[in-house]
């Protein structure tokens, strides 16, 4: 019974669980189990609960060469909304957040279920965006993007996804520039965060150590 309900939330971002029950499940269900449940939803089926089925399938196999292309343009658009540039501080583009995320999805050390969940989420975001406004997310204006993200954040899966994207934005902001984000230490400068020394050289990045 519980599993059924969890699966249902993952058909798309639409949250079909009544509030009270939702909270109880949230308390019991750990993050990773939830991701595992997400991983077993067969591709294609996840769209059946949404009004608009016109979406590209999941992207694990997609060969993406540029962050300008789908789904990276949507990732970039979500990241820049979550972490916008302003006069005093860098935004997602300034810290290379999209390329950083792309690297995270290619590198060892990130949980496979997390990787799949991040990739699935971007499709679900466009599904919802088209359902609400007949356009993909990156084509929306600021106000509509905010509406889509607010709606996403109301579902548990959606909140987890946005939360995960924020985590990798923070990594791009604050991790050592040797990992591809934090361009020219712009994140450290903005936050007045003094790094510790010695800093990791290229040949001692974490995935080269073990």
């Amino acid at each position: 019974m519980r599993k059924e309900l969890i699966k249902k939330t993952l058909l798309c971002w639409e949250d079909t669980i009544p509030d009270g029950l939702h909270e109880r499940i949230q308390q019991r269900q750990s993050r990773r189990n939830f991701l595992k449940a997400a991983a077993i939803v067969p591709a294609g089926i996840y769209l059946s609960g949404c009004d608009n089925p016109a979406s590209t399938p999941t992207t694990a196999e997609n060969k993406i060469s540029s962050v300008e292309q789908a789904p990276w343009n949507t990732f970039a658009s979500v990241q820049n909304h979550l972490f916008p540039k302003d006069d005093e501080s860098p935004g997602a583009d300034d810290i290379n957040a999209t390329t950083y995320l792309k690297l995270v999805l290619e590198l060892p050390g990130t949980d496979d279920a997390d990787k799949k969940f991040i990739r699935d989420g971007v499709n679900w975001t466009n599904d919802l965006s088209r359902q609400m406004f007949d356009r993909n997310f990156h084509q929306l204006d600021f106000g509509k993007k905010e509406q889509v993200l607010q709606r996403i954040s109301k579902s548990r899966a959606g909140e987890s996804w946005l939360s995960l994207l924020l985590l990798y934005i923070f990594e791009a902001l604050i991790a050592d520039p040797v990992y591809g984000g934090n361009t020219n230490q712009v994140g450290w400068q903005w936050l007045e965060h003094a790094p510790g020394f010695p800093l990791p050289p290229e040949d001692k990045r974490y995935y080269l150590l073990r």
Binding site: R32, L162, F170, F197, P198, K204
Partner: protein, 563 residues
């Protein structure tokens, strides 16, 4: 097959002293370590490596634990326990798996136990629902080895007389205290105003160079990070490097021991392990020493069945894994804005690197009618919020109502937290009472990548732990208040800190209620010793590492006598 004099399984704080003592005495020593062999040249201030990816610990996909947590009561009043693997929950129970073990990643808060800690039952009596016992040895037996660790490991500090000061055979530490932060003076002032006795915190961090180890370089990133100067007194930097230099000690990294085989006489005959290529190997030795950190030590003994040990070696009375200990207590925080100080002090407060180095032991023993009968208390340590930026930012992404934040409000909050605010924290350490609800067993349904059952850990705690923890947290909050900190809050819970773990193989005189004798030798396997924190029947209210070092030096001398 070469027979070593001693084979040590595990290279952390429990293994290092035995390796060094016996290698320097001329005996042949082999250390088997499950993880890789990092050196100073591999340690950088890299938050991804230290804290966000599994670099110094196994991938949970390959190796996990199963945690059993309290989940309500049955109709008859018995407890229900929920069970979940750490891979599924995402909560990691590994510490350092590499040469030197988790001592590479400690913050090095070093305290001795006190004489009364060796006899809590006699001093304070029984506590219902807890298995408090006296130790089979007294403080005087351990004292010379606490002193030895000060010199050999390298402990920096300064003795300030106070009412709970334990006896010492030397007047003071061999190394002066590490450099101190400006806030230490503010803590002193507040404590004195409150009639408390602030004490300098001893640290297993060199304040001056020693042998080939440099002194501390004060990066400010210490706990959770490997030390690139060699100042931190890890088993690797302080002990194993010297053991290897003696020419009598061999360290084999990537050697995962899955079983101790034993013969008809009941003695351990070999340590069986997988090497880096996952090929099965065996080594024999006269004496075997297990020091895999408490949980994995119990797991290995339970998995090591043999003709005289149907339920695992050292487990003929069913005591292995029982009475597992963590550190009870909790932590709290207060906030200062740089604006509240004059410009000189504000600048000093922004400095990162020097240690806070202040603690309180005023309530190591509680004698306060408001609390109740006299009881064992604990220690309070002050420290800054960890400087890890990613985890700091990630912790700030939720608003006060638990909703995810983004956009401008999130960025404003980050700027305030990083650039305008200094967070002074405290940590409370008090005894985690041994109970029947906290133990290690094998989970036969969940296996690691070598097909061995993983450790299942039941994580029950005693309510008395929370009472003591809350009492100490309230005292700590008074200090923050006196310092004019804002937003003071604290939390005391029964959540176990996985890095502060001991017990599971109690030492004692009665084989029916203990695993090891007073020499930390297995009651039922005469060439088997356990020298990590597993031996402790009660925990004391300080981090375990100094006591583990001291006891391992003590047992090493016993083994040396025997060889």
């Amino acid at each position: 097959m070469k027979e070593y004099d001693v084979c040590i399984i595990g290279s952390g704080a429990g293994g290092g002293p035995v390796a060094l003592t016996l290698a320097e005495a001329g005996y042949s020593v082999l250390v088997l370590e499950k993880g890789p062999w990092f050196t100073e040249a591999d340690f950088f201030k890299d938050e991804l490596a230290c804290c966000r990816r599994s670099v110094y610990t196994p991938d949970l996909k390959d190796e996990r634990h199963v945690l059993e947590e309290y989940n309500g009561q049955n109709d008859d009043g018995s407890y229900k326990w929920s069970s979940e693997s750490t891979f599924d929950s995402g909560s990691d129970f590994w510490n350092g798996n590499c040469v030197g073990g988790s001592s590479n990643f400690m913050s090095g808060y070093f305290y001795r136990l006190k004489p009364k800690d060796f006899r809590l039952l006699s001093e304070f009596g029984e506590i219902k629902g807890a298995n408090v016992v006296d130790w089979p040895i007294d403080y005087a037996a351990m004292e010379p080895y606490y002193t030895k660790a000060e010199t050999v490991v390298g402990i920096s500090g300064k003795i300030l007389p106070h009412k709970h000061q334990e006896p010492r055979s030397t007047p003071d530490f061999p190394y002066p205290p590490t450099a101190e932060h400006a806030v230490s003076g503010l803590i002193d002032k507040a404590c004195h105003e409150l009639n408390m006795t602030p004490l300098p915190t001893p640290r297993a961090v060199l304040s001056v160079p020693k042998d080939d180890r440099r002194s501390c370089e004060y990066s400010g990133f210490c706990g959770s990070y490997g030390c690139s100067s060699g100042a931190k007194g890890s088993s690797r930097a302080a002990l194993l490097n010297k053991a290897v230099e003696s020419g009598n000690c061999e360290i084999r990294a990537h050697a995962k021991v899955y079983k101790l085989s034993s013969d008809q006489s009941g003695k351990v005959s070999s340590a069986d392990y997988f090497d880096k290529e996952n090929i099965k190997r065996s080594v024999s030795a006269k004496i075997f020493v297990v020091a895999c950190q408490a949980i994995e030590t119990s797991r290995l003994l339970l998995a090591s069945t043999g003709p005289k040990h149907p339920n695992g070696i050292a487990n003929n009375t069913g005591q292995v894994g029982k009475n597992l200990l963590f550190s009870a207590g909790g932590s709290g925080t207060g906030e200062f804005t740089y604006k509240q100080f004059d410009s000189q002090l504000a600048q000093a407060m922004q400095q990162r690197g020097p240690f806070v180095n202040r603690g309180l032991q005023d309530w190591y023993f509680i004698d306060d009618k408001e609390f109740g009968a006299p009881a064992k208390g604990g220690v309070i340590d002050f420290l800054f919020r960890h400087p890890n930026g990613i985890s700091k930012a990630n912790g700030e992404k939720w608003d006060d109502n638990g909703n995810l934040m983004w956009g401008k409000p999130l960025k404003q909050k980050l700027k305030k937290v990083f650039a305008e605010t200094k967070y002074l924290r405290f940590e409370v350490f008090n005894d985690w009472l041994p109970t029947d609800d906290c133990f290690v067993s094998l989970d036969n349904s969940v296996k690691d990548k070598w097909d061995s059952p993983v450790a299942k850990i039941r994580l029950g705690y005693h309510d008395h732990d929370l009472k003591v923890g809350r009492y100490l947290a309230n005292k700590s909050e008074l200090v923050l208040k006196q310092m004019n900190a804002k937003n003071i809050r604290s939390s005391v819970s029964g959540a176990p800190p996985p890095n502060l773990v001991a017990g599971g193989c109690r030492f004692g005189n009665d084989p029916a209620t203990s695993v090891l004798n007073a020499d930390c030798q297995a009651h039922d396997a005469e060439n088997l010793y356990v020298t990590d924190g597993s031996f402790m029947p009660t925990g004391g209210s300080v981090p375990y590492t100094w006591t583990i070092y001291a006891n391992a030096f003590r047992v090493a001398d016993i083994i040396k006598q025997r060889l």
